[in-house]
Symmetry: C2
Subunit: 203 residues, 2 copies
């Protein structure tokens, strides 16, 4: 445990330390949740690593749940901002816009602190009985993904075919991070992009 704490501290020092308290807490918490999990990381650890007092922490985030929700929002915004940036560089071709997802995944898998998807993590750590609001947020993320893809497919094919393609593409998109993490091979994103190309070539 010692070495990884130090690893993490190095990471933190580099860019997080100079931020304002609220953002410093958020990014420290995000990094810790990402590396160790939402449930096993306690408030005290986040406070210690982000270098704020407990009182300040609770002033910015009234509960741990609020903080976890903020981390999910932070992650979702990053993902879709990156995606929209890529889309804006294209010429409005729906197929290319869908394929851009896999380029975004490839870049994500290449990040040094890549450790799987926060929403997949949340799907497993939050349940509908103990943590309904967080779980709803997780579901909403997948609905966002489906909507991004479906809005493009609807320009190209029927609703029936579109529904199947959405499920197939989402399987690839959610499976890829897991296999990238287990295998340590970020190329998985490109292998799966090839499948997506073939799928889209049929319509």
């Amino acid at each position: 445990m010692e070495t990884s704490v130090l690893d993490f501290k190095d990471l933190r020092t580099a860019e997080i330390e100079k931020l304002k308290p609220k953002e410093r807490i958020l990014k420290t918490a995000y990094a810790l949740f990402n590396k160790f999990g939402f449930n096993v990381i306690g408030i005290d650890r986040i406070i210690a690593e982000s270098g704020v007092s407990k009182r300040s922490f609770y002033q910015y985030f009234p509960s741990k749940t609020d903080l976890m929700a903020a981390c999910l929002d932070f992650r979702e915004a990053l993902r879709f901002k990156d995606l929209e940036k890529r889309v804006s560089l294209l010429d409005g071709n729906p197929k290319a816009e869908i394929l851009a997802i896999f380029d975004s995944l490839y870049e994500w898998f290449s990040e040094e602190d890549f450790n799987g998807c926060a929403f997949n993590r949340g799907m497993n750590e939050f349940n509908y009985t103990d943590s309904k609001p967080l779980r709803d947020k997780v579901d909403q993320h997948f609905i966002q993904w489906a909507a991004f893809i479906k809005s493009r497919l609807d320009k190209l094919t029927t609703a029936e075919k579109s529904e199947i393609l959405v499920a197939q593409l989402l399987s690839l998109i959610t499976g890829a991070p897991i296999i990238a993490m287990i295998s340590g091979n970020r190329e998985v994103a490109l292998f799966d992009k090839k499948i997506a190309e073939d799928l889209l070539a049929t319509i």
Copy 2:
């Protein structure tokens, strides 16, 4: 929380109640971990639901970690037993044996208590610093999957092509349970089987 506890109790009464203590603990724990998560379910809950005393519990499982490991072993054995049964009904065709995976998934998604993959859950709940033995077991499960597929592909194509296909098929196999759970549509297994058929048709 009340209603789902009752849901679960109904499930337990049906088949678990008449088992011997050790198996009753194991299956009760498996069901609870599956529904709510490994970390949020405490020993006391498992003891209460399985109807044994704390002393008996610790006689059979010296620690919660031992119990979680036993649950993972239990799950892995079920999965690969089902797979081997399907393989034994085929004529030794490697492609058909790989495709049988998706039929196994389809049946799994159809189970009433289906709630995602225990190993995907474990990948997110266990980390290498706090829970190394459990995390290793999770990794081993994916290695098993890869070995099952690779041993079949090696009869059909080169090592290079095989490596890519393994990653692609594993993406589908790990992504499918997540999308099946989120969408509530077990057909995802069959949609992804179609992709696998197309992939295998190219070699």
